[in-house]
């Protein structure tokens, strides 16, 4: 059969030759095999052209070719994308086998795009590539951190410095008030969750930013797409032209160890200062039993809470490759303590991949991964009554002793000198830490199986089935304890134990067929005239979640504190809310790439998605995109223009596309899987006939049968430049992105019969509706320069950076403002507001215009808020009605940065390599809510907490120049610009210096590579922000995670700061 085909092909060629090339005569037939210099084996699809003619052919699936040349003087030019072209004079040879070597430069320029790869030169959308070295040589725990500062327009903000915490990743801004997280695609498997993988196993990350690049992922891509390619072994091992068919294996071992430190402590008053301020604070009750000077404690609570924390990771990998098969398996262990006591993270990852070339035209590959994570988290909710030790350490009375009796569990509350019951409202941070037993565990397993069929030249059929499953468990054991006798925080009842378990699994089945064909130019047969590539595909996705939340009360066994188990509980309560859900999606998609003479590039993508999330008549979405590239540098007028000689490459790109988002949310911000369907609810719907409570039922949620996708359209324009012999690469993009049909939770009209939900909090009934819009526009640029300096050991270096400007604007959101729930009592105000015409989650409050210096000023100014005195903050009477009211609140800043940037310098000199990278933001504001306690009233009646040292400079009759309001001022009881601080920062993200041992030594030791390195992460942060860390993301929750609420960000009420880490590591392979 195969032979018949070959013969037919030859016959066709022969015919063609006669028809088209009839003037050629006296021919020599040359045959041979072109060998893939990278992977070994025949290289299919390589072009073989007789130089100076239009005679050409290309290799078949086995890399074989046959060509007729006029005579022995003919020169054959062998070329293939990604390989360096080679010329070969035929001479008297009839068989020419040739190994095409990988074109190092070009290989790097191949980027991953959705369901395929593309030459970077040919990419018409906006795609950022983060190379493997950026990641694998940088010891980070999470994928998100690995991307920080590395790609223009990809903003990564740590929500928390807690080990294992997820960061907020925004590609080209916040696209919606709903989920704006990117889609992660790991080796072709899409997932909305950041993958739990060892970052050092990542080969490369490709970030699809604009709609034309993302549209192939359709309704899941509105937040951008992050394509992650994991390392795999190469078939043929290290085989090269000079050493063919040697099967090789390698074992590599990477390890690092470091110690993390809090970057800084905040200046709060010491015991003496606190005491003096306490006495001056108006309204404070002077204790009858005064502090005794000799017993006065001076506890630095921050030092009690923060600690140097070790971090370590060990990765062991084995890879092997033979002619037709390759495999890589790796495992890693990480153990990280948090800089805040009570937080830590342990994980084990095991993963592997294999590729097997069963036939020349058939390859199968498979991958599996298992990850087990366990972390202890601290409560990070902004709640004084909760247990965030970071906040509590700031505000804990420094005159209280830190000593405590762990056996009895007694901790000092506030000074017992004030034994009137109000001071122990604040929990002792050490008690919070010692009693904290919140644990998050996650076990996840994933795998995929791929079949690749290449039945003929240019055609690839790919099919992948992947599965993913996980079990999450959150447990919290609350023991019996006392803080001080009589404290309302004591739990004298028996311990209770909460265990929330969720499990889910999903599968994705995707299939693609890609056909690529190049048509050579008539004028110059070494060059491609038309190039067309067509990909069609389909995908099915299904996921299911199920969970149960159980609380056991009265844990009996004394072992419970060591290993609490629900079987030890007297009674169990099962929550109703963790209900099962399913999601199914089915999609079809296609891509056409067309290039004309390598100058005009057109890409058309389209995807049709159907989801189970919407009603059958609303569940179909079409997500088309179109992009166009023009390689100016390939044009004759460009080439012939002397003044443009320095420009090696110049490409203009334009793109337009639509992408979608289907993440509907319920009133609590959770994912809503059946927004078109209503469920019946019996809880809290009872009625008491004749004194007996009987159950009742009504619908729980009002459904919206009309709900459909959020759609984002995006225009992108870009310019890619390579100048100075490709040493400088510059890329600039401008985009305009608009989300419409944005899903907004609209309160049900008064007469709509909106149920209050099942919560007792009387949250107004809402129905998610497609009414909103939001725009983001921006410019981003990245530049790199590769240089070398000749010296004894040649110094090669690369210098680069990226910067992005983004402006977010909220459009119509249903005739309303969106205010997230207020900060917990006693604050009770909402610092953020989302309103049409402003950027999302802007800070909203009074504008401070000074301090009332005198009674005269107080009386002649606009009537201030009740209780205002001389020495209090003066707010602007914005509406000019002569009094300060709610109406005078204005927008006082945005948490969104105007600019995000990163830049780096790395290089090699002999055996030494180094890297220096910076990262930062500009123009964002932070709402420093800790000021409520540290600078606020604190007048003894309620929350007599420690103060910031700013209070020492408080305004007084004798200190009129101060910008800090008087002691006891209620000015901080309302949100104002006094809270809002400049959140811009520049951070030295890491400094690395490495040494690779020379070949003499490695050869002696019979090893392949040995490198040692030292690194400092977060070495220096330059910022005006007065809090711990200017990296403030989404607000924390009591289970240590971050709220995914996009309408409240940048509010710091004790957020977990990033650590400064000193570490050393080794990369070793043999």
């Amino acid at each position: 059969m195969k032979k018949t085909y070959q013969n037919a092909k030859r016959l066709a060629l022969l015919l063609l030759s006669f028809l088209l090339l009839s003037y050629v005569h006296g021919q020599i037939v040359v045959t041979g095999t072109v060998i893939d210099g990278e992977f070994g084996g025949g290289l299919p699809g390589a072009n073989v052209v007789v130089k100076g003619t239009s005679t050409g052919t290309s290799t078949d699936i086995d890399g074989k070719y046959t060509i007729k040349v006029p005579d022995g003087n003919a020169i054959l030019v062998f070329s293939s994308i990604g390989f360096a072209s080679q010329s070969f004079k035929v001479g008297d040879k009839k068989v020419i086998d040739l190994t095409l070597k990988k074109d190092v430069k070009q290989i790097e320029e191949v980027v991953k795009v959705g369901y395929g790869v593309q030459k970077k030169n040919d990419v018409t959308g906006s795609v950022s590539q983060i190379g493997g070295a950026d990641i694998s040589d940088r010891p980070v725990i999470g994928v998100d951190q690995a991307m920080q500062g590395k790609a223009a327009g990809v903003a990564v903000t740590a929500n928390s410095g807690s080990p294992g915490a997820e960061a907020m990743v925004r590609i080209r801004g916040t696209g919606s008030i709903n989920s704006s997280e990117p889609l992660y695609v790991v080796d072709g498997v899409p997932s909305e969750q950041a993958p739990k993988i060892n970052p050092s196993e990542i080969k490369s990350i490709s970030v699809l930013k604009d709609a034309s690049a993302c549209a192939i992922y359709g309704s899941r891509a509105a937040g951008g797409v992050i394509l992650i390619t994991l390392k795999d072994a190469k078939m043929g091992g290290k085989r090269s032209a000079d050493c063919p068919s040697t099967s090789t294996s390698e074992i590599s071992f990477d390890a690092y160890y470091g110690v993390q430190y809090a970057q800084k402590l905040l200046p709060v008053t010491n015991a003496t200062e606190f005491r003096s301020l306490y006495y001056k604070m108006p309204g404070n009750v002077i204790p009858s039993n005064d502090w005794k000077e000799d017993t006065l404690q001076n506890t630095n609570w921050q030092k009690k809470v923060f600690r140097p924390a070790p971090i370590q990771r060990y990765t062991l990998a084995y890879e092997t490759g033979s002619d037709n098969s390759s495999m890589r398996v790796s495992g890693s262990l990480v153990n990280q303590q948090g800089t805040v006591k009570g937080s830590d993270f342990q994980a084990a990852n095991i993963g592997g991949r294999g590729n097997h070339k069963l036939k020349k035209w058939l390859t199968v590959s498979e991958a599996f991964g298992f990850s087990s994570e366990k972390k202890h988290v601290i409560d990070q909710s902004p709640n004084i009554y909760g247990g965030n030790p970071i906040l509590l350490a700031l505000i804990m009375d420094p005159t209280v002793s830190a000593s405590h009796d762990t056996t009895v569990g007694t901790y000092q509350g506030f000074s017992t000198s004030f034994n009137n019951g109000v001071y122990n409202k604040i929990k002792n941070p050490l008690r919070v830490i010692d009693l904290n037993n919140q644990t998050n565990k996650n076990n996840s397993y994933s795998g995929n199986f791929n079949i690749d069929i290449d039945p003929m030249k240019g055609l690839n059929i790919h099919s992948m089935i992947s599965g993913y499953g996980y079990i999450n468990q959150y447990t919290n054991y609350t023991p019996s304890y006392i803080q001080i006798p009589g404290s309302s925080f004591n739990n004298t009842a028996k311990p209770y134990y909460q265990q929330n378990t969720g499990r889910g699994w999903s599968y994705t089945w995707s299939n693609t067929a890609t056909y690529t064909k190049n048509f050579m130019r008539k004028s110059d047969s070494t060059k491609v005239g038309h190039s067309i590539s067509l990909m069609v595909g389909s995908e099915a996705y299904y996921s299911k979640y199920d969970g149960v939340d159980i609380t056991g009360y009265k844990m009996n066994s004394s072992l419970s504190s060591v290993y609490p188990h629900l079987s030890e509980a007297d009674s169990l309560a099962v929550s109703k809310y963790n209900v099962p859900s399913e999601l199914a999606m089915r999609s079809y998609f296609f891509r056409i790439n067309y290039a004309f003479q390598d100058r005009y590039l057109i890409t058309v993508n389209g995807r049709k998605d159907r989801t189970s999330r919407f009603a059958p008549d609303k569940n179909t979405g079409y997500f088309p995109s179109f992009s166009f590239g023009w390689k100016l540098s390939e044009e004759d007028f460009f080439k012939n223009n002397e003044s443009l000689k320095g420009i090696n490459e110049c490409k203009l790109r334009f793109g337009y596309g639509r992408i979608g988002n289907s993440n509907t949310q319920d009133a609590q911000g959770g994912s809503l899987y059946y927004p078109f369907s209503s469920t019946m609810q019996n809880q809290y719907r009872s009625y008491s006939f004749g004194g007996t409570r009987v159950n009742g039922v009504s619908v729980l949620n009002l459904p919206n049968p009309n709900i459909k996708w959020e759609t984002t359209t995006q225009f992108n324009g870009g310019l890619d430049l390579a100048i100075l012999q490709n040493k400088v690469n510059l890329s600039i993009d401008a985009f305009y992105k608009k989300t419409f049909d944005m899903i907004v939770a609209i309160p049900v009209p008064l007469v709509g019969g909106g149920e209050f939900g099942d919560s007792y909090s009387r949250t107004p009934a809402i129905v998610s509706q497609n009414v909103g819009s939001m725009t983001n526009k921006g410019i981003e640029a990245s530049i790199s320069y590769k240089g070398e300096i000749a010296m004894k050991n040649k110094l090669t270096y690369e210098l680069g950076g990226n910067i992005a400007y983004i402006k977010n604007k909220v459009g119509y959101i249903g005739n309303a403002t969106i205010e997230p729930p207020p900060l917990p009592s006693p604050m009770g105000f909402t610092p953020c507001r989302t309103q049409q015409g402003y950027s999302v989650a802007s800070f909203y409050g009074y504008k401070v215009i000074g301090i009332y210096q005198s009674n005269a000023e107080l009386n002649t100014s606009a009537k201030p808020l009740a209780g205002t005195q001389v020495g209090d903050l003066k707010f602007q009477d914005t509406d000019g009605d002569g009094k300060i009211t709610e109406k005078d609140k204005v927008y006082i800043g945005s948490p969104l940065p105007k600019l995000t940037y990163g830049f780096y310098l790395n290089g090699n000199m002999g055996n030494v390599d180094f890297n220096l990278s910076f990262q930062g933001t500009y123009g964002n504001k932070i709402f420093n809510a800790t000021k409520f306690y540290l600078d606020g009233t604190s007048n003894g009646t309620a929350y007599n907490n420690n103060y910031s040292t700013r209070r020492l400079n408080a305004w007084s009759e004798t200190n009129k120049g101060s910008s800090e309001p008087r002691l006891g001022s209620p000015s901080y009881d309302v949100p104002s610009s006094k809270y809002v601080e400049n959140g811009s920062y520049l951070r030295i993200k890491d400094i690395t210096i490495g040494y690779t041992f020379g070949s003499v030594m490695t050869k002696k030791l019979k090893i392949n590579k040995l490198r040692i390195y030292a690194q400092i992460q977060n070495a220096l942060t330059i910022t005006k922000y007065s809090g711990y860390d200017p990296e403030v993301g989404q607000i924390g929750k009591s289970d240590g995670s971050a709220s995914k609420n996009n309408t409240m960000i940048g509010v710091d009420l004790g957020s977990y700061p990033q650590a400064r880490t000193f570490m050393g590591g080794v990369n070793f392979s043999f």
């Binding site: 035209w361 069929i453 039945p455 059929i461 089945w509 299939n511 693609t512 067929a513 069609v536 595909g537 389909s538 995908e539 099915a540 299904y542 209900v579 099962p580 859900s581 399913e582 199914a584 999606m585 089915r586 079809y588 189970s612 059958p616 899987y673 059946y674 369907s677 209503s678 469920t679 019946m680 809290y684 719907r685 009625y687 008491s688 006939f689 004749g690 004194g691 007996t692 409570r693 009987v694 009742g696 039922v697 009504s698 619908v699 009002l702 459904p703 919206n704 609209i746 049900v748 009209p749 008064l750 007469v751 709509g752 019969g753 909106g754 149920e755 209050f756 007792y760 909090s761 009387r762």
Partner: protein
């Protein structure tokens, strides 16, 4: 060849991948959905219960109706904290300057939750395999009751009788359902009547409900009674040229009379012997009660609403603060506190024919607003309480038996300063109530808060421990037989059947006289003794009926709606003798004040189809 076959196979899967549509058909799992839910009778009953549920919600819902009914009339005033006015919204209502915000919105929203549940039920049970008539009757009754409260309070509210997204998605309202003005009010009444007639047809009489868990369900009698009441409103409005201008008022009065007779003859209702026990736990769902909101105590929470089956009326209507009986003398413990709303006025107290022992004549306490309260009775610079009645009562207990030779015994349901009536209570509770009485009277060192000195015992069941008034289980009577009897009297007079009217009024008065409480000799309890005055009437006028309604039904949320329909609100309301709110009652705007303003949210959501009531 194999590779082409395999290729073809894979290529075809790309195009045909899971083309089965079931793959995408994912429905809610592990939870009941509306689909098919009503197909079983058991489920339907649960859904019926759900329709009653909002009526019992504890926060401000039924309280709102009672507050308007009592405090917007001369019966009650809103007390509480005169400075902070934490229940200021009710003061605004009371002084006819309503500014609808949270309570009104909650009230309307919650009632429409009930209506939406009813609509859903009625739509879902039109074609079911079981006999759903009784259930549909109950639900129809509840829908009528929700609308009757809404239309009495607000006038032309949207009339929504269907469920579905059109009614709850924004910008989707059906224009026909909202309308403006009096015609729309009449349309709402027509719907109420239709629902009640259906209910009357399908519901059983009270005695047919034999299960204890059916006590308190809507009955045939309740439907008849409510029909009588609804027609009484229509007839009165018609009589006073306010609404129903095209109706014949005598026909409407005949309907009132006819349905009142049905209640009497076929409903099986009668007056309970003792007026006072009506408002106790013991007499819940009594033979006199046509319909009451069912509560049970024991719920812990106050704020939530739909979670609780108890009512927080008690805390809302309790004294603003009082001494904790167990606390040391002189130590204020304001943790035991209520809001101090709905306080009977001296004007109301004076209606009970108090025959002064000294003068032998009926004592009429009158009070005029006195902005200059003596400094002595100010506490912390705030007006402490109603001091002007103290002249008579400062020195001794306000002992009815001692001070008056005769009076209407129904006054016992008002807690008075130093009221001795609490002697009957158990030793555990008695001192606390006595303390409340003492404190409300002699507030000089106690209260920062305004109060008239009187409290309605109809809500404050004296058996309860006042230290813990938060959530109580005392039912609230919406409709009782005495109301129907008096409606019958009213209709009879309007129709010229004076004899029937006289009988009806005397039936009420006779029961009242049989209900006096007196301390017993030992001081450990009380006796019910027969009163002597007032005697039976020998003839009856409309004014007599109006007064009888006031004496019988005070502090049950009726008075304001009655004086509006009687057309006498314009004389009474602006001239109310005020104890706290001074000349504020002058804000009365005649017929514009008959209805409360419609919340702006409701108007904006109506997109032009809902308009504000005139005058606001």
């Amino acid at each position: 060849m194999k590779k082409y076959i395999i290729s073809a196979f894979f290529l075809s899967t790309i195009l045909s991948l899971t083309s089965c549509n079931k793959f995408l058909d994912r429905q809610v799992i592990a939870q009941e959905t509306t689909d098919g839910y009503y197909n079983t009778k058991e489920n339907a009953l649960l859904a019926v219960n759900g329709v009653y549920d909002p009526m019992g919600w504890g926060n401000h819902e039924s309280i709102f109706m009672q507050m308007i009914g009592d405090c917007n009339s001369d019966d009650c005033e809103v007390g509480g904290d005169p400075a902070a006015l934490d229940m200021g919204e009710f003061v605004q209502y009371e002084t006819y300057k309503p500014n609808p915000s949270s309570f009104t919105k909650d009230f309307i929203q919650n009632y429409y939750v009930g209506i939406q549940r009813a609509n859903t039920f009625l739509e879902s049970t039109t074609n079911v395999d079981y006999d759903a008539r009784r259930y549909r009757g109950e639900v129809s009754f509840m829908r009528a009751l929700y609308y009757f409260d809404l239309v009495r309070a607000f006038g032309p509210v949207p009339l929504i009788t269907k469920s579905g997204p059109a009614y709850y998605l924004s910008g989707n309202r059906q224009s026909g359902d909202d309308a403006k003005g009096s015609k729309h009010i009449e349309k709402i009444y027509a719907q109420i009547v239709e629902d009640l007639k259906y209910a009357a047809l399908t519901l059983p009489t009270a005695d047919k409900y034999t299960n204890t868990t059916d006590k308190g369900r809507a009955t045939k009698g309740a439907a008849w009674g409510l029909l009588a009441k609804v027609y009484a409103f229509e007839a009165s409005y018609c009589k006073n040229n306010f609404l129903f201008l095209n109706e014949t008022k005598s026909k409407l009065w005949e309907k009132v009379s006819q349905y009142a007779d049905s209640v009497k003859l076929y409903g099986g209702y009668k007056l309970v012997p003792d007026y006072h026990t009506l408002f106790s736990k013991a007499d819940e769902n009594s033979i006199e009660s046509l319909f009451e909101i069912q509560y049970v105590s024991g719920s812990q929470s106050v704020g939530g609403g739909n979670k609780n089956e108890g009512t927080i009326k008690v805390v809302d209507f309790s004294p603003r603060s009082w001494f904790d009986a167990s606390a040391a003398t002189g130590t204020a413990n304001q943790s035991k506190w209520g809001y101090g709303l709905d306080e009977p006025t001296i004007n109301l107290v004076s209606q009970f024919d108090l025959k002064d022992k000294a003068t032998g004549s009926i004592k009429n306490y009158t009070v005029a607003y006195n902005p200059t309260i003596p400094a002595a009775v100010k506490v912390n610079g705030k007006k402490a309480m109603n001091m002007w009645i103290l002249d008579d009562m400062t020195k001794n207990q306000w002992n009815l038996q001692k001070d008056f030779t005769d009076y209407d015994p129904r006054i016992d349901m008002i807690i008075k300063p130093n009221d001795s009536i609490y002697d009957y209570l158990t030793d555990a509770v008695k001192p606390k109530w006595q303390r409340i009485c003492a404190f409300t009277h002699k507030g000089t060192d106690l209260s920062d808060y305004a109060c008239t000195g009187f409290w309605s015992r109809k809500v404050l069941d004296g058996v309860d421990d006042p230290d813990n008034p938060q959530v109580r289980g005392l039912n609230f009577i919406v409709l009782r037989y005495a109301d129907i009897v008096l409606l019958k009297a009213e209709a009879s007079l309007e129709l010229g059947n004076d004899g029937d009217a006289l009988n009806a009024v005397n039936e009420i008065r006779a029961r009242a006289r049989a209900s006096r409480w007196e301390r017993n000799g030992t001081g450990t309890g009380y006796n019910t003794v027969t009163g002597t005055t007032p005697a039976n009437l020998t003839s009856v006028t409309l004014e007599d009926v109006y007064k009888e309604r006031r004496l019988e039904l005070f502090c049950e949320g009726h008075r304001f709606f009655d004086i509006v329909r009687w057309g006498i609100a314009d004389q009474i309301c602006p001239n109310r003798p005020s104890e706290f709110h001074g000349s504020d009652f002058k804000s009365w705007k005649g017929k514009y004040s008959y209805f409360q303003p419609i919340p702006p949210t409701l108007i904006s959501e109506g997109k032009g189809n809902v308009v504000q009531n005139p005058g606001y």
